[in-house]
Symmetry: C2
């Protein structure tokens, strides 16, 4: 029963609660998070470990005047609840609900957006410096987990903070976990003190992050400290909900569950397996017969399916931490000695390693394979997590092969192609369910740069890639009903692009429509335009992709509709364009 | 007089020199580097500090069977000299000479390429792991400077090494310098021991890196160590050449000089100022009247011209270290509090911060300005340093303005535009001399997304961007001599592109030719193709840019010729294309 929480609409209300009553606030907040999590699932388990921290931060610091900069955001649901979004959490990550991460547009208490890991120290240091320059007294606190601190940019920020000497305050939320158990030498150290102190930061603590008395005193000391200072707070992920405490990795994200038993709803209707699961299975198959194959994850063994691979091929997976830059160059080092490393990294996170892909892999021609999971629009995680820039940033890199499978059978063949060919190779596939097609008995290399003609029609050519091949096929059906006969091509490769097949189809039809689950600038459609300019000049072409904006969180299907790349929109836009271009 | 050096064609020869004679080898090697440096200039000063280290490494380790992985490469000239490239150094960075960095294709002793900083630990760890898996006994040594160690990926690699426990060997070459004096809390620490040990590495030393006896013993201890181990070596940049010792920053790179006096040749014929100098001057002017403007460099205060800015506006420059990721998010933090930060980072190095540009700047719409110096082909530094991917990786980022000035007057106006508009803004300009035009008295904002029509002709439209506007103008002259009348457009903005001006010109002429100092995939030409597909469908178009390969080091003019983007090539290719497309 809530005595305090229902009266807390903003932190000022919290600050009126008697200090000795704060443990009751924390208990109510935790119960609220468990209740909401049980109803709708999501990332609530991560936030259970920071309940006392959220209460104490907003009690000790004068938010939003003082700035609290959260890292990532999975652990900040308590913060959201205390800053006017308590009931809003029931719609978190849904189209009209709050973001799953931090977002300036959402609340004045979200002073800096988050989503990717390790950004808080840099952002907070910039804010502190700006305030110092202006002679202002507001305080800035970065809250960073030990998982996020494995990111190199967190080190860069701390190293700069120690040098500048600004009054930056850092809460080091040490729970031994990333999503999975944390990795890295720092995580094994008895204390991180030597790390922070050598970088020039003063170190306070450790304090028990679930003992509000100790935490308040620790944060007060942090508040009053001069110069860059770290408060070491030890917390337990999943704290206060027994099933999550027992398996914090398994409960990082959850489906709705029964509070009493911890029994969780199964993951939706049984249907086609996820792309991730299909990738994991394909990787196992390819690795079964090729001992050179090893795999690398940047702190997401489960999200990438490498947990499955690790069970089938123990000792052949590396978890590099949230360290995409290192992960890619480490893979290049493995490849330099004859291995065939597969870097399984979400499209959005591989952005962190763009330079290493160029400089350490492609320039040296190493056979590193990039498996870009969650390529395209990702749904509830929203704009920080969409993987809609990969073709643009990868396509200009010389020597890189870029492909996308239209179904899980093509996925296994493309993965075999990647391992076989000995070239740098990027393979993108989306979030969600694959198509449920049967797998050929063996993954077999296919010809690099060869598209597949799936349907012939004389009016217009639709070219799809990966998931949009199905869209193209479905749009072609709709167009046929309206008397428009479409050729459908599965490009399979963005680079090298099959100029022969595409240009031939362009010549046989009145125009070419490209469809991609990627930004409409510089991506697949752009590659086709370049191809047409050379090989079929004068061909009218329509590029359909994500509009030039950051798409909000929501369901993937709705995002596709908004972007106009669902089958109905593609058919309609194609007809409208054909009418206009006549 | 050389007693030993002339007989050392490979490290095996060095290993036959009596140990007590190695100081003589080092003396001869240093004299050789000074002599060659005095003749041709270049980065020799940096390598003076590692002369003993190069000798000792190749003496103690069984190279190339044991792998020595250098970081960056500016300090590895001694290594090159001892591995068959002693005389080759006289042509270093020239078209047929050795690379200025490390390069696998160049020598079996260059076991992993380098150029950008901070990669050696990750690469070496991957190599060690691969060798361990194969049960092989070769040793792997990463040699990383304290400057390069400010890069977050170096931390990521060390943290992973400490966790894995592999027998990785690291030489920490601590000279207190990056190119400029090193920054960061770690650089200020009395000892880096706490840093390395907390990450799980064993620490040996420090040893005096110019005392060969101590160095040999230290490296022997490193050779025999189990588990990840660091040898701390203290060196002095410029060591053994008095003028360079006195001013190691000034002598990081040098023009040819008189050995006796240290007098250096002036930097070439007096002509137009460099783009860097023009940028620095424009930044001073803009900052004179807008106190919100501050500037950030990632360890290159001189290369970016921010040294000039710092002299005129002390206290308004931040050197973040070789930490581009942090530098960009730090800038976002400054912008969040109302400042107008200018991140002056070479195009090639900004690749490191792509994710931060997307996630921390553009997604939040912060007015951070990116000044991408060395955009385009960079000449002698070669493929690791070309800035030919920026338009591709930036163009798909929503909300970002991307521009390039054709001369230094447009540069100052575009910089004023960037500061004025309050949006994320990328401004690219090349290496080398600007055009030498007169500057308007005041930098004034210009309309975003407005191109400029420079010449009208009815046969073909040439669209240039930045430096290629001059190419387009010159090509138009040549075409006119051949009876082809060209329209010439200075696009100025890649994003938003001036669709009106370009489409109108397309309609008035027989086709559009785009010219860019950037990859021909996904860049400026691609943007124009997208524009034409929408606004002037059916327009024949020819995209001229860098071919899809890594261009070798050499002179910029020659690289332009090879890429076919010099005026003569553009004119010829345009004529040939017009003939073919008729």
């Amino acid at each position: 029963m809530e005595r305090w929480l229902s009266g807390i609409e903003e932190p000022a209300d919290l600050r009126r609660v008697p200090r000795e009553r704060l443990p009751e606030v924390a208990r109510e907040l935790r119960e609220h998070l468990v209740e909401v999590g049980s109803e709708i699932g999501g990332h609530f388990a991560g936030s259970l470990g920071t309940v006392e921290l959220c209460v104490a931060l907003h009690f000790v610091f004068d938010t939003p005047r003082d700035r609290v900069v959260w890292d990532v955001g999975h652990q900040a649901y308590g913060h959201k609840a205390l800053t006017g979004r308590r009931e809003g959490l029931r719609a978190i990550k849904k189209a009209q609900g709050p973001s799953g991460f931090l977002r300036r547009a959402e609340s004045p208490y979200d002073v800096f957006g988050a989503g990717h890991a390790g950004t808080s120290v840099s952002a907070a240091l910039g804010m502190s410096e700006a305030l110092r320059r202006a002679g202002r007294s507001e305080r800035v606190v970065a809250v960073i987990g030990d998982g996020a601190a494995t990111a190199g940019m967190a080190f860069e920020g701390l190293n700069h903070a120690g040098f500048l000497g600004t009054d930056l305050k850092v809460v080091f939320n040490d729970n031994g976990m990333s999503i999975a158990p944390n990795v890295g030498g720092l995580s094994r150290a008895a204390s991180p003190r030597g790390y922070f102190e050598t970088l020039g930061l003063r170190m306070l603590g450790p304090v028990d992050g679930h003992d509000l008395g100790a935490l308040l005193v620790g944060l007060e000391a942090l508040r009053e400290a001069c110069g860059p200072t770290v408060l070491h707070v030890r917390t337990r992920k999943g704290r206060g909900y027994a099933p999550a405490e027992a398996d914090p990795f398994g409960w990082h994200a959850t489906s709705p569950f029964a509070v009493e038993t911890g029994e969780r709803q199964s993951g939706g209707p049984a249907g086609a397996p996820s792309w991730t699961a299909c990738f994991a299975e394909a990787l196992v198959r390819v690795a079964d017969r090729d001992p050179r194959v090893v795999a690398i994850t940047a702190a997401m063994p489960d999200g990438t399916g490498l947990d499955v691979f690790a069970r089938r091929h123990p000792g052949r997976v590396y978890d590099a931490g949230i360290a995409e830059q290192h992960a890619v160059t480490f893979a290049a080092g493995l490849a330099a000695e004859g291995l065939r490393p597969v870097c399984a990294i979400y499209s959005t996170f591989l952005q962190r390693a763009f330079d290493q892909i160029v400089h350490d892999v492609a320039l040296q021609g190493f056979p590193v394979i990039f498996a870009l999971d969650r390529a395209g629009l990702v749904g509830p995680d929203g704009p920080t997590h969409h993987g809609v820039l990969d073709l643009a940033y990868l396509r200009a890199v010389p020597g890189l092969v870029i492909a996308a499978p239209r179904d899980e059978n093509e996925l296994q063949h493309l993965l075999a192609t990647a391992v076989d060919c000995g070239r740098p190779f990027a393979l993108r596939f989306p979030r969600g369910a694959a198509r449920g097609v049967a797998l050929d008995p063996d993954p077999k290399p296919i010809e690099i740069g060869r598209a597949e003609l799936l349907r012939e029609g004389c009016d217009v050519t639709l070219v799809g890639l990966g998931k949009t091949v199905a869209t193209a096929e479905s749009a072609a059906e709709r167009l046929a009903e309206a008397g428009v006969e479409a050729t459908v091509i599965d490009a399979r490769f963005v680079k090298p692009l099959d100029a022969t097949t595409i240009a031939a189809a362009a010549r046989r039809t009145a125009g070419v429509v490209t469809i991609e689950d990627h930004a409409a600038q510089g991506g697949f459609g752009s590659a086709v335009l370049e191809c047409l300019a050379r090989h079929a000049p004068g061909t009218p072409a329509l590029v359909l992709g994500i509009p030039d904006e950051f798409m909000e969180h929501g369901e993937v299907a709705e995002q596709w509709r908004l972007a106009g790349i669902d089958a109905a929109s593609v058919a309609e836009r194609t007809r409208s364009w054909m009418g206009g271009s006549k």
